[in-house]
Subunit: 203 residues, 2 copies
């Protein structure tokens, strides 16, 4: 990891906010400069182009997803514990960075090729989780099913309500911000409760 100047960090933080809120196409270099309280020319001095700057932001955002799940899988005594920890840490992450899910989803959707290099270089491997779930099923700790399907379902339950927050807030909670917010916060527990029928108790 190379050393980053303070200015560089300022720019990256401002760029992170603007890009995640408005997307690559909607973001303006001027706004990034303004939020970083520096000159627009500095953005090019440090990152050459808008696209290069975006690349840095996207990479950092993408990598926010993995440390938590890796930790959860390594430090958990059993599946129950694993699910509880993983769900809880993702809900925390998205409460803190509400734009993260939709940002990644929509940029990957627009330009899927951007993923390739990140997947190769990053130490990310969802297949490990699939293997883990399969093991637990074989051990009789989880109801047997396609482990990929289970993974996708858990991810869906964790991510979608945050990606669709504005929609849910207005359509299901009739615009009541507080109710919606506490509903999302509650998902830390409720997702696990919802999944409980899948878990086979030790006895």
């Amino acid at each position: 990891m190379e050393i980053k100047s303070d200015t560089e960090k300022l720019i990256l933080e401002a760029a992170r906010k603007v890009f995640t809120e408005k997307g690559l196409d909607g973001a303006r270099m001027q706004e990034i400069a303004d939020r970083a309280n520096i000159n627009k020319a500095m953005l090019h001095y440090y990152f050459r182009s808008k696209d290069k700057l975006f690349e840095s932001v996207f990479k950092a955002a993408f990598n926010e997803f993995w440390p938590e799940i890796t930790k959860s899988i390594n430090e958990s005594a059993n599946v129950e514990d694993f699910l509880k920890r993983a769900i809880s840490s993702y809900v925390d992450l998205f409460m803190d960075k509400p734009f993260l899910p939709i940002f990644i989803l929509s940029e990957v959707n627009r330009t899927p090729d951007r993923l390739e290099s990140l997947i190769r270089e990053g130490g990310v491997n969802p297949h490990l989780i699939v293997e883990y779930l399969k093991e637990q099923m074989d051990l009789g700790k989880l109801k047997a099913m396609d482990p990929k399907e289970l993974l996708v379902n858990v991810i869906s339950l964790c991510i979608f309500p945050f990606a669709g927050k504005s929609l849910i807030e207005r359509m299901i909670f009739q615009g009541d911000k507080e109710s919606c917010e506490s509903f999302l916060q509650e998902r830390k527990k409720s997702i696990y409760e919802f999944l409980k029928p899948l878990i086979i108790a030790n006895n």
Copy 2:
């Protein structure tokens, strides 16, 4: 419903494709014109501005979500049937229009106010579904829980895998397009199977 000229329909169809694939900010009027095999000036002749054209497309896209669910709720004999039908018709819809979910999610996220008028004028009311689910719980046909939570969970399971298709294809199916596609197609059945523990059999 006013009568639309052929040209107008051509423009709307081209605009639908370009906007849903690239978003409001990423779309180019030139590309819409090209795909409609028509001059750029015509776009302005028929719709005045990019934003007005977008509005038309967005409204039509948003309204694609509701007829199915309304039909499902009215024509189903019981909850089981309702869930099966609703899930199945949404999977069909998203297989056919893969960009629809992420398009709506990201545009609503960017500009939530756009929803207000659509919700008011459109005969949309998710609250009816919440009420229906609550009734079924009271009747002992569904496991008791917060009906809003159930609704959000079902929606999550139906929509997320399509919104995150590129991500899932590359990260969970290692780039195997066909496997991913058939996995998504299978969700017509598998989502319902996954939800089965919630359903209380009649006897």
